[in-house]
Structures are given as C-alpha cells and as structure tokens.
C-alpha cells in the first residue's frame, strides 16, 4: 500500500502532498523535512529507493521535481517506480508537455488526476486512456458549468481555456 505521495522540488519546496495513511499536520511537516533532506542529498546514480522508518520511499526525479511515494517494506519498488511514471505520463498528456509550473499553478488538477490513478493507497486504474477519458469528462462538465454562467465569465473561460 502507498502511504503517501510527495512532490518536492530540488530546493525542497513542496509541490503536492497526498496522505493515504493518517498523519497529523505536525507529523507531515516532520516527514517532509526528513525525507527531503534524505532524498535531495542522494546522488544521481544511486538507487531510487530509500529505507525509512521501516518503510521504503521510492522516488524519481523529473527535471527539477522529485516524485516520492512511501510504501510498505514488502512492496515491489520497481512497480512503484513505474506507477510514478504512469502518473507523470498522464500528467504529461493532460497538460501537454507538463512542466513544474503547470503543477504549481494547477495543483488541484494534479490532485484530480492522482485521485483517478490511486485510491486509498492502491493503484485503481492502469489504463492511461481510461484515466484521460474520466478527467476529460469531468473537465467538460466544468466547462459546461462555466458557460452557463454570465457572458462575461464565459468570455474569460474561453480566453483562459
């Protein structure tokens, strides 16, 4: 089971966090601090896994962003590495060549996507197409709702699309 997902930048800034196991706000801060210290310090050729408090943290670096997932000691690390990549590929497809800024300004969309891939700490969907279709369906509803609103915001919606 995946206990949490963390996205941190090279400077240790938090870009996204999702907790599937209960952690208090205080613990979360501590975990992030501990892990970013641990992971950012690691060299490029080393393993993408870190043993931590009896769990394992699998991380993968994309440009200046680290995607980290914390799993149980007996989970398959390589699989998690590919789940991360699966997530990234879907992000890439959704945002169209995703970059860190997309995630910074649209982090709530990243959450929606993550929610379609992982649920309760398990991989729920391994088909990129299915995920993309669901997200698109949700987005089209958002768009539809926007269009129903006043004409001015309609205009904005079109420009910002």
């Amino acid at each position: 089971m995946i206990h949490f997902v963390l996205l941190i930048s090279r400077q240790g800034k938090v870009r996204l966090t999702k907790w599937y196991s209960p952690y208090s706000q205080k613990e979360r801060t501590k975990v992030i601090r501990e892990l970013s210290g641990l992971i950012l310090a690691r060299g490029p050729k080393l393993c993408n896994f870190v043993e931590w408090r009896g769990y394992k943290v699998v991380y993968r670096r994309y440009a200046s962003l680290y995607f980290c997932m914390c799993i149980d000691a007996d989970d398959n690390e390589l699989e998690i590495l590919e789940i991360i990549h699966h997530f990234v590929e879907i992000l890439d497809r959704y945002f169209g060549s995703v970059c860190e800024l997309d995630l910074i300004f649209n982090f709530h969309k990243a959450y929606y996507i993550l929610d379609e891939i992982l649920i309760a700490g398990e991989l729920q969907e391994s088909s990129k197409k299915t995920v993309a279709r669901l997200i698109a369906a949700q987005d089209s509803l958002v768009e539809a709702a926007k269009e129903q609103a006043s004409s001015v915001s309609n205009m904005i919606a079109q420009v910002t699309k």
Binding site: Q11, Q25, E51, S64, N76, H108, A120, Q124, I156, T160
Partner: protein
C-alpha cells in the same frame, strides 16, 4: 466598476499565462516560489492565511470566489500551515449543486479531514445523496470521498448504497465502489465480511479496470485467510495467462508490456496461494514459465514483473526449472549496472537462497560489491541478505561488518534494527563465549539505548549460567573475562544506561569472585558510575545493589568491610532520594552492614543468581498476622471478584469503555429511551480502604516481576531480613522470561557446514573466512583496475575515478564534472556494445507509439532554460546523447544550480523560468525573452524548432522526450 476591474485583470492573466486563476493567487504562488528561505515562505503564507480568514468569513462570498479561496486554503495546508478555520466552508461546498464546486469541495475535504474529524458527520448526508445521483461523475466524486473519509462508525450509513453501486452500468463507478469496499474491509473487516462474495463476482467483470481493482481487496482477503480461496487458483492462473497473452485491450499495455500492473498483482496473489501447496503450485508452473520467457528485460516495468515472478517462484512449492529461470534472472539483476536492479537482485537472492543456498555462490563478488557500495540503501539491503545467510561459520565476519556499519550511522530506526539483528545472530551462532560477550559489549556500547531490555537480561543470564556446559572452569573464566572487559569499558565516557546496568550487575555478582580485584576497587568503580553525569535512577539502583552484594560477600567471608568515603556519601545521598526504590536499597545496605556474617550469608548467598526462588503466592506467612488483626476487630478481606461498588475502579472503567465502544452512530430514527440501569447507584457507595491494607493476590504476582521494592512493603511488617530476601529475588526476576536458547550456540559451532554462501566460500573457522574475505576483496581492486584500464585506453586519463567522485559529491566544480562525465558516460556504454545498440531501438519512454522524425530535436523549453540559467551552455553533442545516457542530466542541472550566485539560486531560477515559460510556451516569442541565448547556437535553434513545432500543430504530448526522460538509464 470593481467587478469590471477584476475582469480586466483576469483577462490580462488569461492572455498571459492561462492558468485560470486570479491574479492574487498567481502572485501568491509566485512570491512563494521566490521566497529565499523557509521563514520567508512561512511569513507569506501566514499573511495569506490571515487575509483568507477575514475574507472567507464575509457574508455572501460569491461561489466562484469561494472556490478559489478553498483552493488557496488547500495550498496553505499543503505547505504545512493550519487552515482549519476554512474546513467548514469546504464541507459546505460539497453541498453545492454545481459539479465543479462540489468536486472542489470534495477534493478539499479529502485533503483536509482525517477519518476521525468531527466534521465528517456533516458530510455523510451529502455523500448519501450524491451516491444516489444520476450523474455518474457526482457518484465518482462521492465514492472518492467515501474512500478517504468514511470511518468505522459511518460505514453502515453508506454501505448499502456502495454495494448497490457494484453493479452500476458505468465501469468507473463499479471500480470505485470496489475500492471503497476494500477500504471498509481495511477499516473494519467485520462490517463487510458478509459481502466478500461480491469481490469474487467482480473478478469476472468484463471491464479489465474493475477486474484489476478487485485484485486489491482479494489480495488482502487472501493474506488473511488463504484456505478459503484455493478454489480461485485456476481462475487467477487463467486470468494471468490471458493477460500475458495480450488478450486485454491495448490501452492496458504499458511500455510494450501487457497490463503489467495487473500481472504483478496476480503474481502476488499466486505467491500467497501456492505457498506450501503442491497442488495449487502445479497449476501455476506453466504460466510462470511463460512469463519468464516473455518478459522483456530492457524495460523497467519488465524487470518489475520479472522480480515479482521470482518472488512468486520462491514462495510456491519449488520447481527446478522455474528456480533455474529465477536464478538466471536474479543473476542478470545483480550483474546490471543499475543500482535499482542490483537492489532488486540482492532482494531476490535473499528469497532464493532460502530454497537453495548454492545459488549465492556464483554471486559472491557481486554481493561484496554491493556491500562496499557508497549507496546506503544498497548496503542495507545487502546486510539484510547477509543476515539471512548467516551460519555459525561466517557469523564472525558478518556480525563484525554489521557492527562496523552500525557505529557510523545516525538513523536511530535502522540502528535499532541492525543492533537487534547483531544480537540475534550472536545469540544464535556465537562460536565462543568470549566472542559473544565482546560482541554484545560492542553492540551495547554503540547502540545501548536502542536495544531491547530483554537482550541485556539475556546477557546477564548468559554470564550467570554459562552456555549450559558443566565446566565450572570455563564458566568462571568467562565471568572473569567479562569483569575484566567491563572494568576496562567503564573508563569510557557516555555509556548507555542499559549497558551500565549490565556492567553493575556483573560487577556486583562476579567482581570479586576470582579474587583478582579487591572489593574496595570494585566498589570505588561502582561509586564512579553513580556519579556520572547522565546516570539515571535504574543504574543507581543497580549500582547500589551491586555494592550491597559485594559487601555481603565480604562479610560472609569474614572480612571487615571498610566503608569508602564516596560510598558512604552515596548511601547518604540515596537514603534521602526522591525515589523510594533507591531509598529502600540504601537502607537495606545499611541494615546489612550491621548484621553478623552467618545471617548475611543466608540472606545473600554467593553466586546464587541462578537458583530458583519459590514464591509463596498465597502469602501463608501472613496468616498469623491476619488472624490476629481479625481478632482485634479488623474487617475481613473480601476478594476482588466478590466486591461490588466504587472501590473497584478498574471494573468501573472497563464498563464505561464497554459502553463507549458499543455506542455507535445511528442513522435511523431514535427508539424510546431505555430505563437507566439500577445498579449504577450502589456503585457510588463508600469506598473501602481494604484494598490498600491487604493486597490482592494477583497484584502481588505482578509486582514480583516488575518492581522489586513492592514486595518488601507487603511483607515489611514481618521481618527486615525477610524483606531483603524478597528484594533479592526481585533483582533476579528482572531478567524476564528465559528466552535465550543457550544450547544452540555451541552445538552449531561444532557442525562444519559445507554449504557455500555469498560473502565467502568457507568451511572452517572465522580466521580462515576472514582471509577469504580479504582475498575476495583483493580481487575487487583488480577488477576495477581492469575497468579503469579499459576506460583509459579508450578515452585517456583515469576517467573512472574522477567520475565517481564528481557524481557522488555533486558539488564538484563544473568543469571537472563535465570532463569527467563524458568519458564516464561513454565508458559505461562502450563495454557492452550490444546494449548500446539496443538502447536507441527501444522506443523512448514517452514515445507513445507514434514515431515522429522531429521528436529528437524538440527540446522542452523548461529543461533548456535550466541549462541556460547556468553560465556555461550545454555542449550540443552531449545534449543529443542524453537520449541514450540519460543519467548524466541531473549532474548538469546540479552544476547549473550550484553555479548560480547563492542569493538568487531559487528565486532566479523560478522567476526567470516563469517569465520564459510564458513567452516561450504560449506566445512563441523566443528571441527577445531569452537574454543569455547568444552563448551557443544550439539552444536558440532548438527553442525555435520547438516553437515552430507548436505552431505547426505537432502535439507535444507524445514527442517530448526530454523533460520526462528516464533519468535512470
């Protein structure tokens, strides 16, 4: 007017960035990005939180505005700040009818609330309503919230609806319903135990997504109870076969593998089902063989499946052919250059040697390599492997290595683990007592506070009892060597408390036994212990008891005990101590000093720690006293079970807890109130002090093991001597249960095992094995020298070494890194030309099956700019080669970052990229926006190409290899 202004601003942003948020939010994110320190970031967020708190409370906030506020709260919370004042607004938003708002509301509550939050009760009703919605997207959003928020109490409120949704026409809903039920099962297995058959049904769902999701709960269920699912073996095997034969829709393919995530899940399940079951395993052999044959080893996901297959093969009933295939795959992992694969290989090897220890033999060198590796993760995994393959023949080398490593780490969690492993191995395989004690001393010295107390007790027990041999001479030799070593160790500063306890106990029992050290010397040492800075009460108690024992032995021998001044002051100090335990010990010592030698000998017999002491649980010696008291008019004792009323506090409490646990949230109408139970009133009767005067037998039993000082207080009235005696047995009982298996040590020493193992090929004693280890280590430099020579002949210079240094530190000067890297990268490719050929032919990770000739030239602007931020431009050939040797990119970027002026390292990169992103990405205006572009023709060129590609309309989705290039190589 105000509205128009904001619209204008939003329009401006729309044309500029297109992220669809308000200017304020963009500003916030930008200023956070530019914050140079955590403190600055905190200040900005705190200001933001304050303004949100004010604004969110205003009446009639427009819904759209509220949505943005909520998202900003999520942002604040994500950065670790408290946004709890806004939770209620997020909850309110879930009530909204419009889906976008509802969705934001659900997202926020799932991120904000934990399952035991008070506000959850306010959402349950909304969730119930939404689960009934006609719009499947609403149902999906509600189900996602169900997975996160519904706790044990609220499960009954939504359970019927979730079960109904298992047969919903939309597969997305079915899938989420399965996951929700799985979550319910994890929270409270009893609540869904009657619904398990639904999972079996969903296994046959015609949507592969639903089927895949169903494997998660089934895995958990099978973990809990294998035998009830044996009938599914054939179905699982059938599904796996179909998946492997690519019968699933193409959309489930991932990097040319057929639905690998589903395969992995199935392999996990089969491993459980086939464990120790020959018949079930028989069904699996064929399909497992197929997977081994078909698995692609060039991709990461192929290796993930392969690894899972190895796990499965090592778990089910062994099959020679499959084991061979698994061993072959493992050796490929171990020989790989990738640390990840090596790691998996070490893990797989650990699984396989349980079945066939011989497999490790050919990988000795690889394992040694991993052990010496600078990568901590790999090292730890290797220690785990060594731990699994320890025998009496190699225990000395392995434990030695472990301790050496343990000394140098600061991670307490792992230190505890490795210390307990050292202890376990030493207890199991110790070749000699001497070695065992030395090893334990080292473990205690360096990780004393992290070891289990049991270990200390076992060590004391071992020293007291020996290894079970009847050789008195060996035993006393063992003891005196222990005493010697402890007296030596005591000179060192900062010993852990647990270790000091052991030392005190041993010195007290055996310090003077061999007559080597005078009692005054030992007592002096013990007094020094108590004066140490960090000495806690337990250690003091051990020390004073030890002094007491030494004095007792001396008196029993008929010698006069001279009271050292420091000892006297210790006694004085402890007799006024806040701890009654210490006080009592001090008084006992004083009392003992006044007794004559014969009495002392019977109170404190020499070397009697191994003798059993009978405990009279019925306290018969108190009978006379009780009788007398009753005759004098005292109330007779009433056993606890017969007592009723307030005095029984624990009973009262448990009753209360029982009521609390049976109290559940109810979602149906109230019943008529029940009459309050009548027995509550007598419970408030007058409390009787009986319990204090005459302790209940059970309590005494407990205290005898836990607290030495309690017993004397029970029996205190009868006689002082008796008190001391009882006190003594308290000391012994501190060892805890006899967990140490004393027989295993020597017996395993005698058996010389012919079997080989990974570290060294040994079949003799430790010294020989050490030689072998050295030998194999000596081979190491040769191998790397060979590698170096090859690199040198190809590229000149000692490339290998510099490269290693540069990559591991990351802070090496830029030029050095680059120079070292290129040969290094080339070197890693050159030895295996076949691999090099294979690499380009393997489609790129993001190349989703639509090859495009321009794909190599499109370079993601973000990445490009990172290169530009640094003063030195990337050399173009290197950039092109990124595709084949991706692992060097991080270094380039690292160098780019470290070369920046320190003040602007974070702000500069972000703000400049922000600006550039806008212009490059959206308006394709490259030439003006990138000032540093003149440094080399290449980046400019590629940016232009990128822009052109976008204008032409080539979707960058599929052909953007660089940003998400697999950096692992």
């Amino acid at each position: 007017m105000e509205q128009l202004k904001t619209i204008g601003r939003e329009l401006a942003i729309g044309s500029h960035g297109g992220w669809g948020q308000s200017k304020e939010f963009l500003d916030l994110v930008k200023s956070i990005g530019e914050a140079r320190s955590k403190a600055e970031e905190d200040r900005i967020i705190l200001r933001e939180v304050e303004s949100l708190r004010r604004r969110i409370a205003e009446p009639d906030v427009p819904r759209r505005k509220m949505k943005e506020y909520i998202i900003r709260l999520v942002y604040a919370e994500m950065l670790g700040h408290d946004a709890s004042f806004g939770y209620i607004h997020a909850v309110k938003m879930t009530h909204d009818d419009a889906l976008p708002l509802k969705r934001t509301g659900y997202l926020a509550v799932t991120l904000f609330l934990s399952e035991d939050h008070d506000l959850i009760i306010l959402i349950v009703n909304t969730i119930q309503k939404d689960l009934r919605s006609d719009n499947y997207l609403v149902v999906c959003a509600a189900l996602a919230a169900v997975c996160k928020l519904i706790n044990e109490e609220t499960i009954p409120a939504v359970l019927p609806q979730v079960v109904e949704l298992l047969t919903h026409p939309k597969e997305a809903v079915r899938k989420k319903a399965v996951m929700a039920l799985h979550r319910f099962y994890q929270r409270s297995p009893a609540s869904v135990s009657h619904l398990v058959s639904n999972f079996r049904k969903r296994l046959c769902d015609n949507d592969p997504g639903v089927m895949g999701a169903t494997l998660c709960p089934l895995f958990d269920l099978i973990c809990a109870d294998v035998n009830s699912y044996k009938d599914l073996v054939i179905s699982f095997v059938g599904i796996l076969k179909q998946v492997a034969e690519r019968r699933l829709p193409k959309t489930y393919d991932y990097h040319q593998m057929a639905a690998p995530f589903i395969q992995i899940k199935l392999l996990k399940i089969l491993a459980l089902l086939g464990n120790g079951d020959k018949q079930a395993s028989g069904h699996m052999y064929n399909v497992l063989g197929d997977i081994f044959r078909k698995c692609e080893q060039s991709s990461n996901i192929g290796n993930a499946v392969l690894y899972e297959s190895i796990c499965c093969v090592s778990s089910i009933h062994p099959n020679a052919k499959l084991l061979e295939a698994a061993a072959e795959a493992t050796s490929k992992f171990l020989k790989s250059d990738s640390h990840n694969l090596k790691y998996m290989g070490v893990d797989a090897l650990g699984r396989l040697i349980r079945i066939n220890p011989d497999i490790a033999e050919e990988h000795q060198l690889a394992v040694i390599d991993c052990l010496e590796d600078p990568d901590d993760t790999l090292k730890r995994k290797t220690f785990e492997l060594l731990y699994k393959m320890t025998k009496s023949t190699n225990v000395e080398v392995i434990v030695g290595r472990m301790i050496e490593y343990m000394i140098n780490i600061s991670d307490n969690h792992y230190k505890t683990e490795i210390a307990s492993r050292c202890v376990e191995l030493a207890e199991q395989f110790a070749p000699t007592n001497e070695w065992f004690i030395q090893t334990m001393n080292k473990v205690f010295e360096h990780a004393g506070d992290l070891v289990n107390v049991r270990v200390a007790h076992n060590l004391m027990r071992l020293i007291a009892e020996g290894f079970g041999e009847d050789d008195e001479g060996a035993e006393s030799q063992l003891r005196s060597s222990a005493v010697d070593s402890y007296l030596r160790i005591l000179g060192e500063p900062k010993l852990p408390s647990l270790f000091l306890q052991v030392i005190c106990w041993v010195l007290g029992e055996y310090g003077t036994a061999d007559g080597k050290y005078p009692s005054a010397y030992i007592i002096g040492k013990l007094c020094d212990v108590t004066e140490a800075l960090l000495c806690d009460d337990t250690v003091k108690a051990y020390a004073i008891s030890a002094i007491l024992k030494i004095c007792a032995f001396e008196i029993a021998e008929g010698r006069k005990v001279e009271m050292l001044p420091e000892c006297q002051s210790l006694i004085d100090e402890l007799s006024t101590s806040h701890s009654t335990d210490l006080q009592q010990r001090a008084y006992e010592l004083q009392a003992l000093l006044c007794l004559e030698s014969r009495a002392v000998e019977s109170v404190m017999p020499l070397d009697a720690s191994c003798e059993d002491i009978e405990i009279d649980k019925n306290l018969t010696f108190l009978k006379d006293f009780v009788q007398q008291s009753i005759e004098n008019g005292a109330t007779p004792y009433i056993p606890e079970s017969e007592r009723s009323g307030m005095s029984n506090v624990s009973n009262f409490k448990s009753q209360y807890q029982h009521e609390a646990s049976s109290h559940m949230l109810r979602f149906e109408a109230y019943e008529l109130p029940r009459p309050s139970p009548a027995h509550v009133i007598p419970q408030v009767s007058v409390p009787t002090p009986i319990a204090d005067l005459f302790p209940v037998p059970e309590t005494t039993c407990n205290s005898e093991t836990s607290q030495a000082s309690k017993l004397p207080s029970v029996a205190g009235a009868s006689s002082a001597a008796h008190g001391i005696k009882l006190h003594l047995d308290g000391v012994q009982r501190r060892w805890g249960r006899p967990t140490y298996s004393s027989s295993s040590g020597p017996s395993s020493t005698t058996s010389t095992e012919k079997t080989t193992n990974g570290v060294t090929h040994i079949d003799g004693v430790g010294s020989q094995s050490r030689d072998k280890l050295n030998e194999s280590r000596r081979q190491q430099p040769e191998v790397s020298a060979e590698k170096q020579k090859l690199a040198a002949s190809l590229f000149g210079g000692s490339a290998g070494k510099t490269e290693k240094k540069a990559t591991s530190t990351q802070r090496a000067p830029k030029g050095n890194t680059r120079n070292a890297e290129r040969p290094g990268a080339a070197r890693s490719r050159s030895p295996e030309t076949s691999k090099e050929k294979a690499a380009p032919s393997v489609p790129d990770l993001l190349d989703l099956g639509e090859p495009n000739p321009t794909s190599t030239t499109i370079v993601d602007p973000f990445k490009q700019l990172e290169g530009l931020v640094g003063p030195t431009p990337m050399p173009s050939p290197l950039d092109n080669s990124v595709k084949t040797s991706g692992f060097e990119t991080p270094d380039l970027m690292a160098a780019a970052y470290t070369d920046l002026p320190p003040s602007g390292s974070s702000s500069g990169s972000l703000s400049s990229t922000t600006r550039d992103m806008y212009s490059v990405d959206k308006t394709s205006n490259t030439a003006t926006s990138v000032p540093s572009i003149k440094k080399g023709p290449f980046p400019q060129d590629s940016l232009r190409k990128d822009a052109r590609a976008r204008q032409v309309g080539v979707t960058p989705t599929g052909n953007n290899p660089n940003l998400f290039k697999d950096l692992l190589g």
